[in-house]
């Protein structure tokens, strides 16, 4: 029976994936106009970060309050390519130095710096979107986890890194666009990303990439590595004395989380048309943790719903009560942690699933046997 195969998808998982696919690829595109669809596309870019946090925080117990760093780095890599393409000599002929990004011209920089040069290449830029944040995460991971820095200390350090990177970007205005970020992005290899058609296509590309990330995350969770992460979260010493180099596993999952966040950041830049330090710093990084907590930090599907719902609420309520919104968000976080530590996914599992099970008693009986061996679901109990 179960012992003979290591199934990556239990039936419960398959239903969850199918419902989410239905929502993202059919219901939202059919039900929303292009403006709203683009907005949901933006919300979904945060879901990439939340999925990474489910792996790092929910499974591995590593709370990073600096995921905005990786989201931002991915977004900036994409923005640099788009900005260079938008800064053709014809488009920028009114500048004192035509052919360079506008913010460089405003800051009396006369030529494109050497480290911007490789971003003329789309291939390089796409590789950089993932590789640069992963290398950065790797360096942080090696420095922290090899020294056995963990828990609250790790969270505070990642937060400090988010603050430092924001200050660096704002301070180096001539090279980064400063506090305004990199704006006025127009085309991708000649294809105008501002049109309605482009927005719809980018929405679907975004959805496809999101499912690719969900799929990878699911494989990681269901492999022995996923179970080691849970074991590490609960009894780190026992894992160490079972012959594992715990630091390597933490570095791996932190890098995976960074890669997901970076893809989200790049898709954000493409769909929203700019990237700025306001998506890098402490506040956005903490918001990303809230998306994950509300959705359920043990469930990758839950994390996607969390990102969607909190952002939808943010858009709605921040228009109605601009001053109260942040307090509301903080209150929501506290409420979730106190009352529903496993978020929406936990509520679904505790209240909805048993009812469905009652209705389909006979059919679900078989499925339950399989889902018993899902360590993350087991952990959610």
């Amino acid at each position: 029976m179960f012992l003979n195969k290591n199934r990556f998808f239990s039936n419960t998982d398959l239903i969850g994936f199918a419902l989410l696919a239905l929502l993202i690829f059919v219901m939202l595109p059919v039900g929303l106009d292009v403006f709203r669809l683009n907005l949901f596309g933006k919300y979904l870019t945060y879901a990439f970060v939340a999925i990474g946090l489910v792996l790092c925080w929910g499974a591995g117990g590593i709370l990073s309050l600096g995921q905005g760093v990786f989201f931002g780095l991915g977004g900036y890599c994409m923005a640099m390519f788009l900005k260079l393409e938008a800064s053709s000599p014809e488009a920028t002929k009114i500048q004192s130095t035509p052919g360079i990004p506008d913010f460089m011209d405003w800051n009396q920089i006369a030529e494109i710096p050497f480290w911007w040069q490789p971003f003329h290449s789309l291939t390089f830029s796409l590789v950089a979107v993932i590789i640069i944040p992963v290398i950065f995460a790797f360096i942080i991971g090696v420095a922290m986890f090899r020294r056995r820095v963990g828990g609250v200390y790790f969270a505070i350090i990642t937060q400090a890194i988010a603050a430092i990177l924001t200050i660096l970007i704002i301070g180096q205005q001539g090279y980064t666009g400063g506090v305004n970020g990199i704006t006025d992005l127009r085309t991708l290899k000649g294809w105008d990303i501002r049109t309605d058609d482009a927005k719809v296509i980018l929405y679907f590309v975004n959805g496809g990439l999101l499912f690719a990330c969900l799929f990878i995350a699911q494989i990681i969770r269901k492999s022995k590595l996923g179970r080691i992460l849970i074991a590490m979260r609960d009894q780190e010493d026992r894992v160490r004395f079972s012959g594992y180099d715990v630091a390597n596993f933490k570095i791996f999952v932190f890098c995976a989380g960074a890669a997901f966040a970076a893809v989200g950041g790049a898709m954000f830049t493409l769909q929203v048309g700019f990237m700025s330090p306001s998506f890098v710093g402490i506040v956005p990084s903490i918001e990303m943790v809230i998306f994950c907590a509300v959705g359920g930090r043990l469930s990758i599907i839950g994390a996607v719903y969390g990102a969607l719902l909190v952002n939808l609420a943010k858009t709605t309520f921040s228009e109605l009560f601009p001053e109260l919104w942040l307090l509301g968000l903080g209150g929501l976080f506290i409420a979730v942690v106190l009352a529903f530590p496993n978020g929406l996914a936990g509520i679904y599992k505790d209240y909805v699933e048993p009812r469905i099970a009652l209705i389909f008693k006979r059919k679900m009986h078989i499925d339950e046997d399989v889902s018993k061996y899902d360590p993350l679901e087991a952990a959610a109990d």
Partner: protein
């Protein structure tokens, strides 16, 4: 003093000092192949600390710990495990959110790298080995149970099983029968007697009846130093041991 090569484990002049307090002070002892060494001593004698030092959990201030002619003090915990040293903690330390099967699977000595763990397959060899170990530690009926739902004694057995599946040449057990019921204690003694047959074991234990049953030799620790060493009869007759530990 040179280490004799036929000792499995050589501990010489081992010292660890915590802010000036020497928990283990110039300790030397030798463990032979297939020996069952029991360490006894009053509370605070440094028994657990000695095991911590050998398995790399605590870094020694000075001295040497040689296992099969490898210096353990310079190695990381996981490297020491791979060298063949297994350690059971005093309180049962199992992964509560995972099933008994998964607990044993994680300890199975394969796929310990990141990519090894990603590509690890639950093949027939793994399953039959886990079944075999589960039967040894009386848990064959509970493979699908989450470890959190096991009784205290069953958790102790599970952790012993997790060590057995690693097949270590040196097994270190910290109070394996502590907190067990009489029936569980008896079963555990039987289990330990079976598993110490073909390997070396270091056990920390207070139960004298139990020590008498399993010990090849006994080392009595007091204030981080060896107070007495030899057969059970020898240390029980030693006036120094009676004074500080066994009582008159």
């Amino acid at each position: 003093m040179n280490a004799r090569p036929d000792f499995l484990l050589t501990v010489e002049n081992l010292t660890v000092s915590f802010d000036g307090f020497k928990a283990v002070d110039g300790l030397s002892f030798y463990v032979e192949q297939n020996e069952c060494r029991v360490i006894i001593g009053p509370n605070g004698a440094g028994k657990t600390t000695v095991l911590d030092l050998i398995c790399g959990r605590t870094k020694a201030t000075s001295g040497k710990v040689e296992f099969k002619n490898q210096e353990l003090l310079k190695m990381r915990e996981d490297q020491i495990v791979h060298a063949g040293v297994g350690r059971k903690f005093q309180t049962p330390t199992v992964y509560e959110d995972l099933t008994v099967f998964e607990n044993l699977e994680i300890s199975y000595p394969k796929g310990h790298g990141v990519f090894g763990a990603l590509t690890f397959r639950r093949d027939d060899a793994v399953i039959s080995r886990i079944d075999e170990i589960a039967a040894t530690v009386f848990l064959e009926e509970l493979l699908e149970e989450k470890a959190a739902y096991l009784s205290h004694g069953q958790k102790q057995w599970l952790e012993i099983g997790m060590l057995l599946i690693q097949d270590p040449e040196l097994l270190m057990l910290d109070e394996p029968v502590a907190g067990m019921s009489v029936a569980e204690r008896k079963k555990t003694a039987e289990l330990l007697n079976r598993i110490i047959q073909d390997r070396s074991v270091i056990v920390i234990e207070h139960d004298m009846k139990f020590v008498e049953d399993i010990a090849t030799r006994v080392t009595v620790l007091h204030q981080g130093k060896v107070l007495s060493e030899g057969s059970m009869a020898h240390v029980q007759a030693d006036p120094k041991v009676i004074e500080v530990y066994l009582g008159h």
